[in-house]
């Protein structure tokens, strides 16, 4: 048996599949090829072993203490060398005021009104169901889904594996609440999808004010470690609560 060269597009697709870069149609195509072509299956095993090795055994280089402070000092120094004309500062402050009073009002208000947050997230859930795919990253592997959020949003979410409890992970997407991008994980239960959104809980949401259902979609909400979680699905309320409980109590962390 000969090993395909690294220029072989099937090989590149195996790598892309394991990196969570393929849409479901292409992912299905390449997994079927992996089932029938042993060299591709072997390639996949090697890549997984290598990724696991890097993840588990390679220590991360620590940023030297003081580097951040030195950077901030040198950048602050630059600013003092080039003071801005005062009209720019004034313009900036007007722009900032306009931004705060204009564009952010909804979200600030929203953080005190769980109903509006829930409304918006139910809309996102419905839109996702109607889109070609409900997720932007397709993967059942939390080691793929969690890093995908890095760089897209400031804090990547807690991702747990609930496949054994019959809530397999489908993938993730970024939703936007007001002006704030937030992470949404998508899990499946039987034929129902669950969108689980994590929102930094600045405003102090209150559980009891959150609606239990909107337009026939059930909503379960809880706050944990400064993060406000919203689970939305057309699942029965009890099953959705089971899901929330499993997610909360699961120990499987990245």
């Amino acid at each position: 048996m000969t090993r395909p060269t690294s220029d072989d597009s099937s090989v590149l697709l195996v790598h892309a599949y394991l990196d969570g870069e393929l849409d479901p149609a292409n992912a299905l195509g390449i997994t079927q090829q992996m089932d029938t072509v042993p060299a591709l299956a072997a390639e996949a095993e090697r890549i997984k072993a290598l990724q696991q090795l890097i993840r588990e055994r390679l220590p991360r280089e620590e940023t030297p203490p003081g580097l951040r402070a030195r950077i901030e000092t040198s950048v602050g120094g630059l600013r003092r060398e080039r003071p801005r004309p005062s009209w720019r500062a004034l313009a900036a402050s007007i722009a900032l005021t306009a931004m705060v009073t204009g564009t952010s009002t909804w979200f600030i208000a929203g953080s005190q009104q769980p109903t509006m947050v829930a409304d918006s997230l139910v809309s996102d859930h419905i839109r996702a169901l109607m889109a070609p795919e409900p997720v932007d990253v397709v993967s059942s592997d939390r080691h793929t889904v969690k890093p995908w959020f890095n760089g897209r949003i400031p804090n990547s979410p807690r991702v747990v594996d609930l496949a054994r409890e019959n809530f397999p992970l489908i993938g993730g997407r970024v939703d936007v609440l007001g002006q704030t991008p937030v992470s949404t994980l998508v899990y499946r239960h039987a034929k129902h999808l669950i969108s689980l959104t994590a929102v930094p809980a600045e405003g102090g949401f209150k559980l009891d004010r959150s609606p239990r259902s909107i337009n026939g979609y059930n909503v379960v909400h809880w706050v944990e470690n400064g993060v406000s979680y919203w689970a939305i699905s057309d699942l029965e309320a009890k099953e959705l609560e089971d899901f929330a409980r499993l997610f909360r109590t699961s120990q499987t962390e990245l």
């Binding site: 722009a95 909804w106 995908w148």
Partner: protein, 213 residues
């Protein structure tokens, strides 16, 4: 290299744009929204765009220069470049933007201080092509088990020995967790090139680790 046609069906569009984010509720406020940071001064922008990614910047610089002192110099220099260019950052992926500046700074540094170590990509790919051995018969040996026995020192040395374009691609994907689009942005190449470099980097790395056993 993979064809552009394949990529267009393969690669998913991230749906984070306005069509995705708009809803009736949000449209009320989205009308005045452009760059949410447009009202901030340069220092505030720097703090929110650059400072969150200093750790990633430092680690990339470390993999590219090979030592702490030079990595620190590169990150400091790159930070100043980022600050001067902070108004040019028009939103999008801050991490990829900063890492591309770190990479360019590191390359300038390498060219100046270690001109012999910088091979162009064309050099490497020409050598690769000449040495290509498509017929490796070991497709089904328990290589995964062999790989699992490698220790951190061997792994680090094997990654450090990769040619720079392969090393940076592998580091950004398998250590830093960037996706292909971000790596393409950070290393200034098309996604197809990211894919082929990543496959080659992993294969080289696996081959080296097997030799070490």
């Amino acid at each position: 290299m993979i064809g552009v046609g394949v990529m267009s069906v393969t690669y998913m569009q991230a749906r984070t744009g306005p069509t995705k984010s708009e809803s009736a509720t949000m449209r009320l406020v989205a009308s005045g929204a452009q760059d949410p940071m447009s009202g901030l001064d340069d220092n505030a922008r720097f703090r929110s765009i650059v400072m969150p990614y200093i750790d990633e910047a430092y680690r990339l610089a470390h993999w590219l220069t090979g030592n702490r002192t030079d990595a620190e110099d590169v990150v400091q220099d790159a930070s100043l470049r980022a600050f001067r260019a902070i108004r040019e950052f028009a939103g999008g992926n801050a991490r990829a933007w900063l890492l591309s500046i770190v990479r360019n700074t590191a390359y300038s540094w390498l060219r100046k201080n270690r001109p012999t170590t910088v091979l162009t990509v064309e050099d490497i790919e020409a050598v690769e092509l000449a040495n290509a051995k498509p017929g490796d018969p070991t497709g089904e040996t328990p290589e995964a088990a062999l790989i699992a026995k490698v220790d951190a020192g061997q792994l680090r040395a094997a990654i450090a020995a990769l040619p720079t374009p392969f090393r940076e691609t592998l580091v950004l994907r398998d250590i830093e967790g960037l996706d292909y689009r971000e790596i393409a942005e950070a290393t200034d190449v098309p996604i197809g090139t990211v894919m082929s470099r990543l496959a080659r980097a992993r294969r080289r790395l696996i081959a080296t680790l097997k030799e070490d056993r």
